[in-house]
Symmetry: C2
Subunit: 301 residues, 2 copies
């Protein structure tokens, strides 16, 4: 693995921030405090993994095409939309009625920095804004909205959070953990890959294949999260370490121990990577995406 | 005014309930408790005003056309989507961190019947589901999503709720009340009219005109709400009467007294009706929509 993907990711993170700023600024008439609360969480030092996946698939499919520059701007906007949905979910997950977290990425969570009512509304507003952005992304916009609604909705991310809350302190099996991680985390990562392909007007087969790859990569990512909660410091994580265990969260580490959970994340990640390679053309952009995805479960924070 | 619109509305309410049930059932893999919480609020005895407006405009524009039956099913789905957004906003508005209401339409609010975490997620899930439904509504689906995202988002409904919360107990002017009512209420009623027209593939001029009519009708509707909070009983309202005053809410009644507020609602309502008549063809469906809209500020609950 070379470090080429890191340089690219670092440059792209700046572009993603810029795209997010442009969308937020373009939304006129937002009450000041609400806008500040949205910005607080949106520009809170996230890894921007989901937009990077959108861009990665886009670049892999656009390599050598004449219109790659124009569609990259569309991919950036799609990535901004996914990041808005992700951010809204973090704001709501952190609420006292849910995970009750005061720290996120090393900064006060939205309801701590503002207040609970504003935090609920900032999340609600970001979700609406995200769909508004996707609706503006050209001939396949309504497919993008449909995929995003499924991934983020009650049978996806929102349902996963519900299952996660209900599983707290309960006896769980590896299968139940997998269901939670699939709905809560993997669905949105799979969506990110699919959006990159939709921007490039890819075939249904390519989109389905990417959703499948994203499923395994997403499980690997969340598996790594479970491991890091036990092995990393709060400082490295930017959030309270050891919290999963303290809250009795459903994690693979709790079900089968640290070493087996680590092996599972690696196994799933490799499966996802293999699928990705079957679908995407061989080129420099695909190699960078491959390395970015590998980092998803090899990361240290 | 005849009562023809009431019979039509009553029959349509059943169709709207059916459309909502179909959408909810079509969403597979939703955790049981989350689905129940969504259904609790979705089938809580609402007036279904917003879907009725979608259907009303649809019928006015479809009268005599051969494809009116097929497009009416699309209008029903669009109406279901608007009702989902409206319902999610009520669930979140009722939360302890916002209006802290325990009663809605004579039944316990979602967070009382379930719990706060589930209520937040039920609202989040309904919003996502609504956009998923709109994305599936044919050639102008992405326009529908864009309009809905604007009306429901941080510069619309969500922003209006933020302004409403911030204005509690503050000195307000009639102009500030108008801004709150416009964003919080009128935007979604205007959206409903516009969706009915989008289903019928209407021109941008028609859609703009309907958004304008909806603006005034929506202000009239909310103005009537302000009046009813003071004049009606909790039993008639199905929610706690007198609560606006007790909480120091920004209402026209508070700013200018009952009689002037009542006159204002009527004035705005008549302005909205006049616009509606300029835009829609003269037919039986338009007359029914006219009567339904008149009810919006003449109602007693």
């Amino acid at each position: 693995m070379t470090d080429g993907w890191k340089r690219q990711a670092s440059a792209d993170r700046k572009r993603i921030d810029q795209a997010l700023r442009t969308e937020l600024r373009g939304c006129k008439g937002v009450p000041r405090r609400l806008r500040q609360a949205m910005a607080h969480s949106l520009f809170g030092g996230g890894k921007r993994l989901r937009p990077l996946l959108v861009l990665g698939v886009h670049d892999a499919l656009a390599a050598g095409e004449a219109d790659a520059g124009g569609s990259r701007d569309v991919a950036l906007r799609a990535g901004a939309a996914v990041e808005m949905i992700h951010t809204y979910s973090l704001i709501h997950d952190d609420l006292p009625a849910m995970d009750d977290d005061v720290l996120r990425r090393g900064r006060p969570t939205c309801h701590v920095a503002y207040d609970e009512g504003t935090a609920v509304l900032a999340g609600d507003g970001l979700q609406a804004l995200a769909f508004g952005v996707l609706a503006d992304l050209g001939p396949r916009a309504s497919e993008m909205v449909a995929h995003a609604a499924r991934a983020a909705g009650p049978a996806g991310m929102v349902g996963g959070q519900q299952r996660d809350l209900e599983a707290e302190g309960q006896e769980v099996t590896a299968r139940m953990v997998e269901r939670i991680h699939r709905d809560k985390t993997a669905a949105m990562l799979a969506l990110s890959l699919a959006l990159g392909a939709l921007v490039r007007d890819a075939s249904p087969a390519t989109i389905d294949g990417l959703l499948g790859a994203g499923h395994w990569l997403g499980l690997a990512f969340q598996g790594a999260d479970d491991v890091l909660d036990v092995t990393a410091t709060s400082e490295a994580l930017g959030k309270t370490a050891g919290k999963d265990d303290a809250c009795g969260k459903a994690t693979w580490v709790r079900v089968e121990g640290l070493e087996r959970a680590r092996a599972r994340a690696r196994r799933y990640g490799e499966r996802g990577l293999a699928r990705l390679e079957q679908i995407l053309p061989e080129n420099e952009a695909t190699r960078r995406l491959h390395d970015l995805c590998g980092y998803m479960w090899r990361r240290e924070h």
